[in-house]
C-alpha cells in the first residue's frame, strides 16, 4: 500500500504527509481523542456520574430496608463494602453500554473509525474517560453508604489502585460487550438481565457462603465476586482473604474484554 501510494503521489506531484506511526503519533492521537470524547460527551458525563451515585447508594440503602431492624454490624459492613462494586458495575453496564449503543444508532462509530487516529488510541481514550469518571461516583457511594449505616471503614493503601483497576476492568468489559454485540436491542436485554442477576444472585453485598454450592462455584469463575472482593479488601480488614487470586481472575477477564474489543474494531466490515 505504501509503495503504491508513493508511486501515485510522486506521479501526481502531490507532497505526501509524513508517515503516521510510532509512539509519538499514538500519544498525540490519544490526546486528541481524549479532547474529542470529553467534548462530545460533556452533557452525558455529569448525568452518568449522577446516575451512578443515585443507583449505587440507593441500592445499598434498599438492601438495608429488606434486611430490616435485625441487621447486625457485620451484615451492614458487607452491604457498605459492596456499595463501591455496585456503583462501578452500574456505571459500566448502564453508562458505558448506553454511550456505545447510542453511537452505534447514530452511526458515530463509522465516523470515529474513519478518523486519522490509531483505533487502539480511540479505545484507550474512551476507556480512560469512563474509568476516571467512574471513580468519584464510587467514592461518593462509599461515603454515603458508610454515613447511612454509621460505620467506620479501615482504608488500606490498596484503595486507590483497587478503585481505578475495578473501574478500568468493568469499563473494559462493558465496552467490549457493547461493541461486540451488533444489535443494540440485544445489548439492552443482556444489560437488564445482568443487573437483575448482579443485584440478587451475586455475592456483592452478602457472603458467598450464602449461595448454593453450584452458584458459588460459578461466581468463582465470573468477575463480579472478585471485583467485590478487591474493593472490599481495600476498605475493610479481616473480611477478605486471598485477594491475589481475585486480582488474577480479574486480569484474565480484562484480557478477554480487550481481545473482544480488538477483534471487533480490527475486522473489516
Amino acid at each position: 500500500m505504501d509503495t503504491a501510494a508513493d508511486e501515485t503521489g510522486s506521479a501526481a506531484g502531490v507532497p505526501l504527509p509524513g508517515i503516521r506511526r510510532g509512539s509519538g503519533h499514538w500519544l498525540s492521537s490519544y490526546a486528541a481523542m481524549l479532547r474529542f470524547d470529553i467534548a462530545s460527551q460533556r452533557t452525558w458525563l455529569p448525568m452518568f456520574a449522577m446516575m451512578q451515585i443515585l443507583f449505587g447508594t440507593g441500592t445499598a440503602i434498599i438492601y438495608g430496608f429488606y434486611i430490616g431492624p435485625g441487621m447486625s454490624r457485620s451484615i451492614a459492613l458487607f452491604i457498605v463494602s459492596g456499595a463501591p462494586a455496585l456503583a462501578t458495575i452500574t456505571a459500566a453496564l448502564i453508562g458505558v453500554t448506553t454511550m456505545v449503543t447510542e453511537r452505534k444508532l447514530a452511526g458515530s462509530w463509522d465516523f470515529i473509525w474513519s478518523l486519522p487516529a490509531p483505533r487502539s488510541a480511540v479505545v484507550a481514550s474512551t476507556l480512560t474517560v469512563y474509568t476516571v469518571m467512574t471513580v468519584p461516583g464510587v467514592v461518593a457511594c462509599l461515603a454515603l453508604a458508610t454515613w447511612r449505616y454509621g460505620l467506620h471503614l479501615s482504608l488500606s493503601p490498596m484503595v486507590a489502585p483497587a478503585f481505578v483497576l475495578a473501574a478500568l476492568i468493568t469499563t473494559s468489559l462493558a465496552f467490549g460487550m457493547a461493541l461486540a454485540i451488533p444489535n443494540p436491542l440485544v445489548t439492552n436485554v443482556i444489560v437488564n438481565a445482568l443487573i437483575f442477576l448482579i443485584l440478587l444472585f451475586s455475592p456483592v453485598v452478602y457472603p458467598i457462603t450464602q449461595l448454593p454450592g453450584w452458584l458459588a462455584d460459578v461466581h468463582r469463575v465470573l468477575p463480579i465476586y472478585h471485583l467485590a472482593q478487591i474493593l472490599r479488601a481495600s476498605v475493610t480488614s479481616g473480611l477478605v482473604h486471598d485477594v491475589a487470586a481475585s486480582y488474577a481472575v480479574l486480569a484474565g477477564w480484562t484480557v478477554v474484554a480487550w481481545a473482544a474489543t480488538a477483534w471487533t474494531i480490527g475486522r473489516r466490515k
Partner: protein, 268 residues
Amino acid sequence: MALIATPAARPAGPGSPAADSRLRYWLHGYRWMFAWDLADLRLTLPVLASILTLQGAGFVLGIGLLYRHIPQAAAAFVVTGIPVLNLITAGLIFEPQIVAGQRTAGSYEFLQSMPVPRSMAAIAWYTVALITALPAVVLTLVSGVLRYHLHLDITPAIVPAILAVSFTGVLMGYAIAHAITTPMIAQLVSTALIFVLFGFSPVMFPARQLPLWLAQVNQWLPFGSMATIMHSALGISEASGTGRAYLVAAAWAIGSGLVAAWAVGRRR
C-alpha cells in the same frame, strides 16, 4: 368522520335506540382495539409474559439469598408483594415504552386517529395487560410457596385486588405514556417509578422497616396501598387499613385517568 360522530351527536336517553347505538359503538370499539392490541403485540406479549414470570420468580428466589436464614414472615411478605410488581409492570413500564416507540416511528398520530373511543382503547389495553400478567402472578406465587414452604390463606378478595392493582398501574402508565411527549423522559420516569416500587415502598417488606418519614409519605403513594390490598387478599395478618388502601389506589387511578384523558383528548 360523519358516520363516526353521528351516534355521539344524538340525544341518548337510557334505553333509547340512540343509547343502544352508542353502547354498541363503544363495545365495537373495545372489541376492535382489543383485537388490534393482540395482533400488534402478538410476538411481544408472550415474551413480556415470560419476562414478568422470570422477574417475579427470580426476585422471590433471589431475595432469600440476602439472608442467612430468611424469617418466614419476611418470606411471606415478599411472596405476597411480588404480584403487585407482576401486575403493574406491563402497564407502568411497557406501555410508556410502546408509546415511545410509536412516537419515534411516527405511528402514534395514526393510532390516535382511529375511529374508536379513546377510552375503549385504554380499557382494551387494560384487558391485555391483565391477561399478560396473570400467568406471572400464579407462577410467582407457586414458586414462592414451594421455595419457602409457605401456606397462603387466599381469600375471594384476591379478585378485586388483582383488578384494582392492575387497573391503577395501567392508568398510571397510560398517563405517563400519553402526557409526557418526550419518549426518553417518559421511559426515565417509568423506570424511576419501578426503582421506587422495589426499594422505597413497603411492597416487599413492612412499612416499619422504612424510616418513619418515608413510611408516612408512602401512606399517600400508590405502591404501598396496592401492596396492602394484595397482602390483605393473600392473608397476611400485618396488612391493615385495606379500605383506606383501596381509596388511595382509587384516587391515583382517577387522577391518572384524568391526566390520560386530557393528554389523549386535547387537540394539537
